[in-house]
Each structure stands twice: as C-alpha cells, then as structure tokens.
Amino acid sequence: MITTAVAEREHYLNASYGIKSWLLTKDHKRIALLYLATITLFFFLGGAFATLIRIELLTPQGGLVSSETYNKLFTMHGVTMIFFFLIPSIPATLGNFFLPMMIGARDLAFPRINLLSWYLLVVGGLLALFAMLAGGVDTGWTFYTPYSTTYSNSWVIATALGIFVAGFSSILTGLNFIVTVHRMRAPGMTWFRMPLFIWSMYATSLIQVLGTPVLAVTLVLVFCERVFHIGIFDPALGGDPVLFQHLFWFYSHPAVYIMILPAMGVISEIISVFSRKPVFGYAFVAFSSVAIAVVGFLVWGHHLFVSTQSVYAGMVFSFLSYFVAIPSAIKVFNWTATLYKGSISYATPMLYAFGFIGLFTIGGLTGLFVASLGIDVHVTDTYFVIAHFHYIMVGGAIMAYMGGLHYWWPKMTGRMYPEGWARLSALVIFLGFNLTFFPQFILGYLGMPRRYHVYPDEFQVLHVLSTAGASVLAVGYLMPMIYFIWSLRYGAVAPANPWGATGLEWKTASPPPVENFEETPVVTHEAYDYSTVMGEVIEVG
C-alpha cells in the first residue's frame, strides 16, 4: 500500500488496480516485481533446506533425518537455489525493471513474451514443488546417470519437467534482452555509452539463449530413458553414463556465468555511483563480460577430470579454464582502481559491493585451485568445491543482488530503506557467510566428501563452526525481508535521484511512470559523467 504522499502522482504501481492488472500486465516493471516475489519465496524455501542440512551436520552420525531424507534435502536445496532462485534472480528482477530504462526504452521488445517467461517460471516451480511435496528427489541437482535414470526411486521426472519448463523462461528472457539491446536503444545511446550493467545482461543473455536448450534436450533424454527404459545412458544396454555428464555440464558450466555476470554488472554500477567516478577501464570491463560468456562454453570438461575422461581432454579443459579466469580478474582490478581518488560513500549498496569484491576474489582464486588438475583430483567432490562455489554464488552473486536491491529500491518503490539496519544486515551477512563457508575449504582438503549424511568424528568441529555461521547468515537474510516490507509503508519518500547517479533510470520519477519517460531521452554524453548530475562542485583528486 502506498501512502498518500506518493498517491497524488500516477506511476506504474497505482496506474491500475486489481489482481488482473498484475497477472495480465505487460509492463516490464510489474513483471519484475512478480518475479521478485516468486524468487524470494524460492530463496527462503532453498534456505529452509539448507538450514536442515546444516543442523543435521552438527553431529557426525546425524539423527535429525534419515539418509534418504538428507539426500533429498541437499538435492532440493541445489535445484531450488540454482534453477528457481539464482538463474532468474538479477536478470528477471533488476534486469527486467532496469534494462529498458537504462537504454531509454519504454519497455522490452516483447512484453507479452516477458509475461510468458514469468508464467513459465511459476509453472516450472510448481512442478518442482509438487515433486518435493510428493516425496522429493534424491539424485543431487546434477542428476548423474545411471542413478537418476535407472536406480533412484524418487520424483525425478516431475523435477526434470519443472526444470525443463523453467529453462524456457530463461531462454525467452535472454531472447527478449538481446533483441531489446540491439533494437531499442534511445537515440545517441551507442554500444559504448551503455552502462556496464547492460553489457553484463547482454552477455548473460547470450549464454541463456545458447546454453539452456542443451540442458532442455538432456532432460528430455533423461525423461525418455526413465519412462521408456531405452538405455541411452545405461551401460547395461550399451549406453554411456559419461555422455550424460558432458551434455549436462555443457549447459551447467555456462550456467554459473549466467549467475555471476549480472552480479558483476550490478557491482559496476554501484562502484561507479558510490565513488562518483566512471568505472576504470570501461572497455575492458565491457569486453571481459563477452569474453567470459564465450570462453565459458569451452571449459565444461573441468567437471569431468576424474570421470574417466581422457587425460589429454583433461589438460585442454584445465588450460582453457585458466583463460576464463583472466577476464574476471581484470574486472576485480578495474573495480578496485575505480576507488582510487574517488569520493567514496559508505551507503549500504557500496558495503555490499565491497563485500562482493572481497568474497568473489576469494571464490575466484579458489577456482584456480580446482582448475589445476593435480589439486582437483584430490579436492573434487569434496567440501572444497562446495566452499568454492558458495563463495562465488552467495558471497558474490547474492551479495551483489542485495546491493542492487538496496541501490534500486528507492527507484522501484519510491521509498528509502532504513540505512542503519541495512548496514548492520550487510555486516551480519558478511560475517555469517565467512564463518559458514571458510571452514569448508579446510574440511574439503582434509577429505570430507560432498553429499555425506554421516561423517567421521574428526570433522565435527569444523562442521559445528560452519553451522554456527549459517545461523548468523540466516539472521542476516531475514533482516532485509523485514525492513524492506516495513519501508513500503514507513520508509522515507525517495526523490528521483537519491544517489546522484547518472543512468537514464534516475532521470525519471521514483517510482517511474508507466511509460518510463515523459519523452524519449536523447543521449549526448558518456555513461558515468557525474558532472552532468551535480550542481556546484568541489573538484578532488
């Protein structure tokens, strides 16, 4: 409910009322909020699974749940978080809301397909939810064969179907973004005047469009194998179980870049605004996004180093994996250099950006460990890998998402969130996260395998530390839930440009009108030119 202060002016939230005006909307901003609600639900569902897992791992012999249930918990945690939270998160919420605005467009190229994308995510999610409630699935989110096709007695087909449908949501969003960026930029908005967030979203969309169909067809084959017992992946019938792994990872490795590239785009925006300087090395950051998308398709075999893949293939994939690390490193250096002689604000979005750079650096550096064949033989399928990808997905992607939510909250809702509580939450999340996942690096190198319900006694202390951290992290995530909702009614009314940012989205009211801009903007200057948004200035640096 919007208070009277804002209700006088018409904007996208109050222009029409009623459930049909939301469920049949073509407005990208409303669709973004529909997505926001949906993925937040899935986030807390995935978080609930994680909570149960971490509680169970407090003791070496378990006791809270049976092994069967535990196996379902970690499977469903992975499926929910990856397919129904992380992959849609930034693109479908912040991307949907702001990509058209940042390039000066009234909407995406295909608004009705945008709405269809949301419905597909919901249907896919309901299918997966049905599988979870009907008894769960216990194959791991990676569905390795022949366990998933021949041996598992769980709801594999329903889950696979849910992911299949959600995959089309992802493909259509990517398609929409690509066409929008190519064809709907405002006059004067050349490629190199686009904000870096757009470059990241574009690169992400390339991956979504090219990679997801391969996952779709892989799931179709798993479905056929399970229903018709045809033997494509079953060695007893002449099939090859490792072929599944190749097909699966051909999508699932680029998928991790779907999850991190948008986050990097958000960070570029935040670092720039809250240093009040253009991002250092704009062209390098822009091109590195595209480089990550392209090279990311060439490294899937690094998930198969010990799978009986040939030694030579392993070497090629290891070599290429180092290539994909370099563009990410370039970004980290450029972001850090942006801070040099800047005017640094400690607003909450910036705190999340600092956290992102630190944690993504650690996560990315540990990626270098697993890319090295000799080390990976020892640490693959252990907690080391779990720690590595959680540093990137949670310490990286989710922190960037939180930063973006705080940054753009005033624009989306017309309200400011409470800064004190927000900074505290950011700190709690940072500390809780590190306590949860740093011990897991040690656990992994010690040899604690993944997906273990029970474990040898000597690993307990590290697991207890990890669970303690998880409880802190949970508190850290609950706090924004509460104060964001609080702010909708009681938060300070937000001006059009509370941060002094330069993007086109800040040139319109908060919240924006339905058509985004009163007239189509014409762009005449580079991105991140802060002299254009400030009155009297004191020059520094």
């Binding site: 295909f110 779709a216 067809v217 045809i230 099939g239």
Partner: protein, 225 residues
Amino acid sequence: MKLASQAHVHAETLARREQFDTAEQQRDASTLGMWVFLITEIMFFGGMFLAYSVYRTFYPQVFAVASSSMNAVIGATNTGVLLCSSFTMVMAVRAAQLGQRKAIITFLILTLLLGLAFLGLKGYEWTLKFEEHHVPGPSFHLDGVDMQGPAQIFFSLYFAMTGLHALHMVVGVGILTWLLIATYKGKFTAEYMTPVDIAGLYWHFVDIIWIFLFPLLYLIDRHLK
C-alpha cells in the same frame, strides 16, 4: 514524409505495440527475435545430433544395419515434400511483399497441405516401424545384429529426433493456419507482412533440420552390412 505515412497506415499496428517508435523498428525487432529463437532451436536439436554422432562412432556396424532397415523411399519422398513446401512458403512471403492477398492464401494452403502430407507419411512410417518391432520397448528386435542394446539406442534417438521434429512441424502447421485466417481477414499489406516473413523463417528452419536428419538417419552406411 515516409515516417508519417507509415504511422498513418499502421496506427492500428503500432497501437498494439507501444514499445516501438517506428514500424521499421518493430519489424527489425521481430525478425531479430525469430533469428535468435532459431539459434536456440539449433542448440536444442544439436544436443541430440551430438548424442547420435557419439553412438554412431561407438557402434558403427549396428547403426549401419539399423540405417539400412529404414525406409529410404518414404524418407526421400518426405524430403521432397518439405523442399517443395519451403518453395511454396517462399512464394507466400513474396506474395505478401507484393500485397497479393489471394496469392498469399493459395501458397499458404499449398504449404499447409505439403506439411500435412509430411506428417501423414511420417505417421505411416512409424506404424511400419511398429509392425517391424523397431519401436524401443519390451518387444524390440532388430534382425542382423547381436547387440540389441545399441540397436535400441539407434531407434530411441530416431524416434526422439524425428518426434521432436514432427512436434515442430505440428506447431508450424498451427502457425500457418493462424496466418491463413489473418490473411483472409486482410491483416497484411505490402508494408506490414512481418508475421508471414518470420513464419517463413521458422518453416525453412524446420525444413533444414529434416535435411540433416534424413542423411544421418537413413543414408549413412546404408549398404554396409
């Protein structure tokens, strides 16, 4: 001025598509959108083509026997049918560019009939396969090979790939039907025929997939026993 007259003629079109500034922008966006979609379809079918290629390499003799058991006459006929349908589709697009409503309808009907002929022949071929016990399942048996497992893999991939292709044909038939109705109602002019254009792209794509499927499934190693 060109822009103004377009805006005048297509006020109805643009009103439905508020996000675009000009008809040209709308047309460009729709066309690019269809091309991007077709690329995703290539990746989708590509996964199956890859699986097929891998197993062909593992079991060349079994796949050769299986290929030889396919009915190349039906396959070749279907190839001819689809190629003709692409031709009639091109003619339909050409007619739309020239604003010739009657010609559009004629050529769309021909394309539709050819598409239905393809589907009919494919259905007939599948019933033959059923009678020959080449459908994967408990009663599967391929003569001339020891290892029934890989033979079953061939036919699983055959049915999956041609089934997926047929599904796309059915969608194509649905799109053609919608186009026919829209043309009949006078929705398209020489200036606005984008849906016909992009439907043509889709139809050609489905044709091209078949052009790859036919030699891979029916022709390679055909006489090798």
